[in-house]
């Protein structure tokens, strides 16, 4: 039996999650600071509207780590999907809500994707999970473009990208390129990024434009990974959605 698009998505996203959490916690060595009273935590009274999970006793942190990575690995490999997807969703939501300080957009992508994939694991006869994940991807792009263009200054300031590349995530490549390339170059890239993100609904849902969407999207995420130190997992998570747009061949089993 050939692998379906949802299986490809699961294997890809599961691998990204495993890598992301292992890297973020530096092989789980930072997990004590993150999940137990060892680290500083913002009290729930200062987080209105946010779910806040209780912290773990220090002795449980390594055992929790074993369960966490084992469940993600089992889900990635497709082992008892109904139960491992539920468990992986619960544990990823837990680590996200136990600590607001290590909670980024990528956690939200993981939680939303795992929620949809959990429904999908219990209902393998329907095609809605594929559609919802596709719509979710283009919505993320559109919203990102809208935020940059309307609430941000990507269309009005020529130096937004140029300055953003020079702070926390600057690497040796970006350090060199911001010196050597003119501001006009970065301005064109800025506009190109916003144009791609705002037009994503048209590019991804029109078969004629799909190859262009793939080329531009892959270039965008690889470009970020190349020019921003260690910001690769977000782009890889986004790229996991791309196989969902590839039309299955005649022999591919449809979910």
């Amino acid at each position: 039996m050939r692998t379906s698009a949802l299986d490809t998505f699961r294997i890809c996203l599961g691998t990204v999650m495993l890598g992301h959490f292992a890297y973020l916690t530096q092989g789980w060595t930072l997990a004590w600071e993150w999940l137990s009273q060892t680290g500083f935590h913002v009290p729930s009274t200062l987080l209105p509207g946010m779910p806040v999970a209780p912290l773990l006793p220090e002795a449980l942190v390594p055992w929790f780590g074993v369960l966490f990575f084992a469940s993600l690995l089992a889900w990635t490999l497709g082992f008892h999907l109904r139960w491992t997807s539920l468990l992986a969703l619960f544990l990823v939501a837990y680590v996200t809500w136990a600590d607001i300080l290590t909670h980024y957009s990528i956690n939200r992508i993981f939680i939303i994707s795992l929620t949809i994939m959990t429904f999908a694991a219990w209902d393998r006869s329907s095609s809605w999970p594929l559609r919802v994940l596709q719509i979710f991807l283009v919505t993320m792009y559109f919203v990102a473009g809208w935020s940059k263009a309307v609430h941000g200054d990507w269309l009005t300031s020529p130096i937004t990208l140029w300055t953003q590349l020079q702070i926390y995530y600057m690497n040796s490549w970006s350090a060199q390129l911001v010196q050597e390339l003119p501001i006009a170059f970065w301005k064109v890239i800025q506009w190109g990024v916003v144009a791609f993100e705002l037009s994503a609904p048209v590019l991804f849902f029109n078969r004629k434009f799909l190859p262009a969407a793939f080329v531009l999207g892959i270039a965008l995420h690889l470009g970020i990974g190349w020019l921003m130190q260690d910001v690769i997992s977000f782009g890889l998570a986004m790229l996991c959605f791309y196989p969902l747009f590839i039309k299955p061949g005649p022999q591919t089993k449809h979910l």
Partner: protein, 178 residues
């Protein structure tokens, strides 16, 4: 096929996720507000795309200091001893993230977080250095960093507090131990 149970189920779930995932994400992007029709605890899930929205010519960076004697010198603390660096956080720490969220502007939230952090710091410092003089006061400095001063080698390195002019530094929070 239209009208079949599978078709109806597909339509139901697509509508469900459009109402409770897609539309709220768009609402949040358009109006910068939590969508009123979604569960309160889920509303933070809808803000997925607001990364690097504005130019950053000058950014606030934060520094921890303590005194071990009243009127003694302020001693710079190595933030990384209390908040380990994570490469996955851009070679920064959870304190960097905390300060970005709560300490960039003076106000009641900054004061509350500063007090909680001071109380935690006194305990943590004692755990890490039981043989040293206990700190009698603690403060957080906010320094305004101008971009373009890094080399990009080996990840982000926060510049030392001595590299700023006095005009670019202010006290974000100060605490004297009771």
């Amino acid at each position: 096929m239209k009208g079949s149970p599978v078709f109806k189920k597909d339509v139901f779930f697509i509508v469900f996720f459009v109402v409770f995932l897609i539309a709220p994400s768009l609402y949040m992007a358009f109006f910068k507000q939590k969508p009123p029709w979604t569960p309160r605890l889920a509303s933070h899930l809808y803000d997925t795309g607001n990364l690097f929205p504005r130019q950053a010519i000058q950014i606030p960076l934060f520094y921890l200091q303590m005194q071990t004697k009243k009127d003694g010198p302020w001693i710079a603390l190595d933030e990384r001893e209390y908040f380990p660096i994570s490469k996955g956080l851009g070679y920064r720490t959870r304190f960097s993230r905390l300060s970005d969220i709560y300490l960039t502007q003076d106000g009641p939230i900054c004061a509350v977080i500063g007090k909680l952090l001071a109380d935690w710091f006194y305990r943590r410092h004692h755990t890490l250095h039981p043989d040293q003089l206990p700190p009698v006061s603690f403060r957080i400095l906010r320094a305004y960093y101008r971009v373009g001063l890094q080399t990009g080698q080996g990840g982000w390195v926060q510049p030392p507090i001595g590299s700023y002019s006095e005009n670019d530094i202010e006290v974000a929070y100060a605490n004297v131990r009771a």
